[in-house]
Amino acid sequence: MADKRVGVDDMVSELRSGMTIGIGGWGSRRKPMAVVRAICRSDLTDLTVVAYGGPDVGLLCATGKVRKVVCGFVTLDSIALDPHWRAARQHGEVEVMEVDEGMFFLGLQAAAWRVPFLPTRAGLGSDVLSLNPELRLVRSPYDAASPFCRDAGDADVDLVAMPALHLDAAVVHVNRADTAGNGQVLSPDAFFDALFLGAAERRFVTTERFVENGHLADETHPLSSVPIHRMLTDAVAEARGGAHFTANPPDYGRDETFQKEYAAAAGDPADWERFAQRYVLVPEEEYQARVRERQGP
């Protein structure tokens, strides 16, 4: 069985400017921040970011990596809005394809299932359709005479045809993984991480630590805590604290003090410069050392 271990920087070296990149997690929860930080340090640019947005989107915007964001929201959870995202939007620096959260899920699902679209009511009547004029409706081919039409109200209806959201690459962060690329989520929600991987050409997983193949499940954690199987994974890297400062229980909660500092740094270019020099434009080991320093002995 292949050993898929690589380093975080190896993953980022496979990315190219202009790519469409899916980022797992949700809001300020279990985001693959080690990879996000590595992208911030790289010379990549012009990226399209596809995410249930949190500080991943904010950091990438603040460091000028982003051309476009596909999302339903960007939030820091305990802080309603990411101020870096807000600033980038209000300065007109990034494009956005804003869709309903459920449409977003169906877009990933369609890509993972290799169908061009999936139908849904979500989006009908809303400005999601007028703001994204390339989105199309699809008419149900089942009329009232069809043996499959159980309910006349469903005959011939027009639904939103949510297009497949194809990704050039996707990255997710999990609590445990094995070297073959099976990934375990010990925090309460696996979110849409497996779908991000399923929708992508190149699939990257980072993990708090490695466990021997066959040992992810044990007496406390059933196999249902391993939603990512190795067919979804091209490469896996160890990244301790790799989701910091987002929430990644049971390994660690959200670092609220750090997040507040991150958000406050959006207020003034000089503050952001200081923050970026200290916490963004430094190698990951140095970042983690500075985080440990903050937390004290």
Binding site: A80, L81, Q90, V96, E101, A122, L124, G125, L159
Partner: protein, 255 residues
């Protein structure tokens, strides 16, 4: 007449709770402190079958005080975000979202103020509002009723109102039901012939003309409008002693 002792925030809690009356076994998804108190109050009193999430990835047992931390909760089933969409699209849910703007036909905006390609104010994003509003009962909570929040036309239609749903056709209207709008001044619904907003009740201490002045469109005012109902002694006790002894409700709506 203002009932001595009952605060504005408490009238708002009662108004929110009443939105879930007779809801049956559905997921109540409240946004904001006062809707959260309303949903819990409803579950503890007249709507015992309501299903509430822990705000993370589970359904919780009972209706604990709102200050309860994650360790103090008992959980009855998983409710991951993936599963939430199954609930939304099955219709077994009544959400109460917030609205940065809401208009006469019930369109709601939480995306952006000003032009969408370069907003004057970027808000959180459309979130699940488009899908929620065409799939299951949807109500709104606006803690700061003013001409800036109750507007003639919202800048971005996130939650879909009656006219937009009708224009989008039968798949949009089928399960569309903008049920109630609760603000710090009163309670509103769309039970008019043309499905535009109507004053349903005003909170004691508020004058109808104050509501009209704080609303940026023509509101239907029925010939007789009642005050928002008083909480029963049991309800008041449940709010004050059981659910919110720390008075978080007063931070959202000042007395």
């Amino acid at each position: 007449m203002s009932e001595p002792g009952v605060t504005r925030a408490e009238f708002c809690v009662i108004a929110c709770a009443d939105a879930w009356r007779d809801a049956g076994e559905v997921m109540a998804s409240p946004f904001g402190t006062i809707p959260a108190l309303g949903a819990r109050l409803a579950k503890l009193t007249f709507a015992p079958d309501l299903v509430l999430t822990d705000g993370e990835a589970a359904l919780m047992v009972g209706a604990p005080p709102i200050a309860t931390g994650p360790d103090g909760l008992m959980r009855e089933a998983a409710m991951t975000y993936r599963t939430v969409f199954d609930v939304v699209w099955s219709g077994r849910r009544h959400i109460m979202m917030m609205a940065s703007q809401i208009d006469r036909t019930g369109n709601q905006n939480i995306s952006a103020v000003g032009p969408h390609d370069q907003p004057k104010v970027q808000l959180v994003g459309v979130r699940g509002a488009p899908g929620n509003s065409v799939n299951h009962p949807t109500s709104y909570w606006v803690p700061d009723h003013s001409v800036r929040t109750f507007v003639e036309h919202v800048d971005v239609v996130c939650g879909v109102g009656y006219a937009r749903a009708a224009a989008a056709g039968p798949a949009a209207t089928r399960y569309h039901d903008v049920r109630r709008v609760v603000s710090n001044l009163g309670v509103f619904d769309f039970e008019t012939a043309d499905r535009t907003m109507r004053l349903r009740s005003y909170h004691p201490g508020v004058r109808v003309e104050d509501i009209v002045a704080a609303t940026g469109f023509t509101l239907t005012i029925p010939e007789t409008v009642d005050e928002t109902r008083l909480p029963t002694p049991e309800e008041l006790d449940t709010i004050r002693v059981v659910l919110d002894p720390g008075s978080r409700r007063d931070r959202e709506v000042k007395s």
